[in-house]
């Protein structure tokens, strides 16, 4: 067992660290601006960050999900909003990479891998959250087209992305076997965007409604096969959970870094607060939490790269990471005391940003369900 990065990986990560140093300095402005972080996205595209695990023949780096995950962690630590754009992009890029045919890859995957176009994925609906199999957006086949009607909500990158993977119901009554995934383009007739959600945090991240009103989607834009949309959704969510897990690790690391710096300079009772055991124990718990979350997330990504089943590990990494980041950010605010509650320090924002991880792409409760189901299946098959 080897926990070290190769020289090649380290050089790649060093290059990403240089990029992230810039993103870190503008993170606060990015959040306050309310503007989608196009400046960062342009740099990420120029520096080949988007297509890390995409094969070279489709314009990617031909690396693995571990490299993608570590880069996602670094982006999230520098600018959580940018990290979220990066993770959500993969929810569109991965299913095309995994299930798309060559024509679809040529038309869509190349531009997603290069970052020329940003991707988004639409699954959640007003009445469809954790119960992802009950999608109501209707896809009706007419000749060589499908007609989509319905609404998706909370779609990260929605409106700013050019390419969308959307799951719709093509055979009502058939349950999860009635779902089909489609590739949509911004600008298709009948495809529009609704309101951009105001949120507890991520002021500059777009989370828009996707509205389909008799939206005509050509048959060749069916991803994988009709009736296999649930499979596509479940597979992309497994990857998405790794994305959320590493994002949580990055944010937690950023909060810890602030806390330890603050503890080393803040003086009370005539000494640095880092000299008090109460603070030291907080720091120890935070660092241990982060390390656990990091190892789980890297393990899940590594298993994916090895071709091993990784769904359970991805759910564990997402569950642990998302709860760890909330604990760590809360402690970071606590260590900062009153200053931490003000907007003078980033930790209050981190604490708000952290909560998202326990909810998005499967709540912690859903993750526990996924893990338990996998455990029981393993037990029964023994």
């Amino acid at each position: 067992m080897d926990f070290s990065f190769t020289e090649e990986q380290q050089e790649i990560f060093d290059a990403v660290d240089e990029i992230c140093a810039d993103f870190k300095t503008t993170a606060c402005e990015v959040d306050e601006s309310g503007e989608y972080p196009w400046d960062n996205i342009k740099v990420m595209a120029e520096c080949d960050l988007f297509g890390v695990p995409v094969p070279e023949e489709w314009g990617g780096m031909g690396m693995g999900f571990l490299e993608w995950g570590v880069i996602g962690e670094k982006l999230s630590a520098a600018c959580t909003t940018t990290g979220a754009v990066y993770a959500a992009h993969m929810l569109c890029m991965y299913p095309i990479m995994a299930f798309g045919n060559d024509a679809q890859k040529d038309k869509y995957l190349r531009d997603l891998a290069s970052g020329k176009k940003i991707g988004a994925m639409g699954l959640t609906e007003p009445n469809v959250g954790s119960d992802a199999g009950s999608v109501q957006t209707r896809a009706e086949k007419r000749g060589d087209k499908y007609i989509l009607n319905g609404t998706k909500i909370f779609i990260t990158n929605g409106g700013d992305a050019e390419t969308y993977v959307v799951v719709a119901n093509s055979s009502p009554g058939r349950g999860t076997r009635g779902l089909t995934a489609f590739i949509l383009e911004k600008g298709m007739p009948g495809f529009s965007f609704g309101k951009d959600e105001k949120k507890m945090a991520y002021n500059s991240l777009s989370n828009r409604e996707l509205i389909f009103e008799d939206c005509e989607v050509p048959e060749e834009n069916v991803l994988y096969k009709e009736g296999r949309g649930f499979r596509v959704a479940m597979d992309l969510l497994d990857i998405g959970r790794i994305g959320m897990a590493v994002g949580a690790v990055g944010l937690a690391q950023a909060a810890y870094d602030c806390a330890v710096q603050y503890a080393l300079v803040r003086e009370q009772f005539g000494k640095k607060i880092s000299e008090f055991q109460a603070i030291q124990f907080h720091l120890a718990d935070m660092a241990t939490d982060i390390e656990c979350a990091r190892l789980l997330s890297y393990q899940a990504a590594w298993m994916k790269d090895q071709g091993l089943p990784f769904g359970k590990q991805a759910a564990m990494a997402k569950l642990y990471g998302s709860e760890a980041v909330s604990r760590v950010c809360s402690k970071a605010v606590q260590i900062h005391g009153g200053h931490g509650y003000t907007c003078e320090y980033p930790v209050e924002r981190y604490m708000r940003e952290a909560k998202l991880f326990e909810i998005v792409e499967g709540t912690s409760e859903i993750q526990r369900g996924v893990i338990a189901l996998a455990l029981l299946r393993e037990a029964i098959s023994k």
Partner: protein
């Protein structure tokens, strides 16, 4: 167009220390970086290449680890690199460095432009690029903040202390750039991978047909008597209190010191 960028690897400026006994730079354990002005030179060359086509070759003279600086330049987008690496170059002053670089440029052959940073962060002499131009017998334009190539000519806007100056020069010529000319790009991941695999030729004084008498210490008329860190033992005093009081105190101190 063919552009040559001459760069220097320097110790990370924030971490330089001087050995008090020998008066030489203590480089052990200090990370090396591309001289920041040279990153602007690389960026300027890459932008010209993007606009006009062609190729960018980066050269440097230095110890084996200077190979890292060249790889970094390739990661940014340079096409080729060449390292002048020979014990015979050790101890070169700016004259000998300019000579060796000129020999290397002659070895490379045809070029349209040589671009350099205005000076190096460690030595700060700003002598090597002009020396290189003189040795090659080509025009030089220093302190460029904008470069426009138009056919066989180049139009350069120079940043001077109190004004801009726009000059035109025929190509081939040498240009040095100031940091305000651009924002150097980050190396992309594909660039990093390309740099890892790049074959960078290392050439010796013999390879570039250099006269050994003009290389290294023997080719360097400069004698460094002493290098030292200026002392910072000036007395500083902090005045505290309400602003009007502090202002009055400050004025009276300045009068006492006969500054006012």
């Amino acid at each position: 167009m063919k552009i040559i960028v001459s760069i220097k690897q320097v110790p990370d400026t924030t971490e330089v220390r001087i050995n008090p006994e020998t008066g030489t730079l203590m480089r052990d354990g200090v990370p090396s970086i591309i001289n920041p002005f040279d990153e602007n030179a690389i960026e300027a060359a890459l932008q010209l290449k993007e606009e006009h086509g062609g190729e960018v070759t980066v050269i440097t003279m230095g110890p084996p680890q200077a190979d890292d600086a060249l790889r970094q330049a390739i990661a940014m987008g340079a096409d080729n690199a060449l390292l002048l690496c020979d014990r015979a170059f050790a101890g070169s002053d700016t004259l000998a460095t300019g000579y060796a670089l000129a020999q290397a440029v002659r070895k490379i052959g045809d070029f349209d432009l040589i671009i350099c940073g205005k000076q190096a962060f460690d030595g700060d002499t700003a002598q090597v690029p002009p020396g290189l131009a003189e040795q090659l017998g080509i025009p030089q334009v220093t302190y460029a903040i904008d470069i426009k190539v138009d056919g066989k000519k180049v139009r350069v806007k120079r940043l001077l202390d109190d004004r801009f100056e726009v000059v035109e020069a025929p190509m081939p010529c040498l240009i040095t750039v100031v940091k305000q000319i651009n924002e150097p790009r980050h190396a992309g991941l594909k660039g990093v991978m390309k740099a890892r695999k790049a074959e960078i030729p290392w050439v010796t004084a013999e390879d570039i047909g250099a006269d050994l008498e003009r290389c290294g210490l023997s080719g360097s008329p400069t004698n460094v008597m002493r290098v030292f860190a200026p002392s910072h033992d000036h007395k500083a005093e902090k005045l505290e209190g309400e602003v009007p009081d502090v202002a009055r105190q400050l004025v009276s101190r300045l009068r006492d010191a006969k500054v006012l």
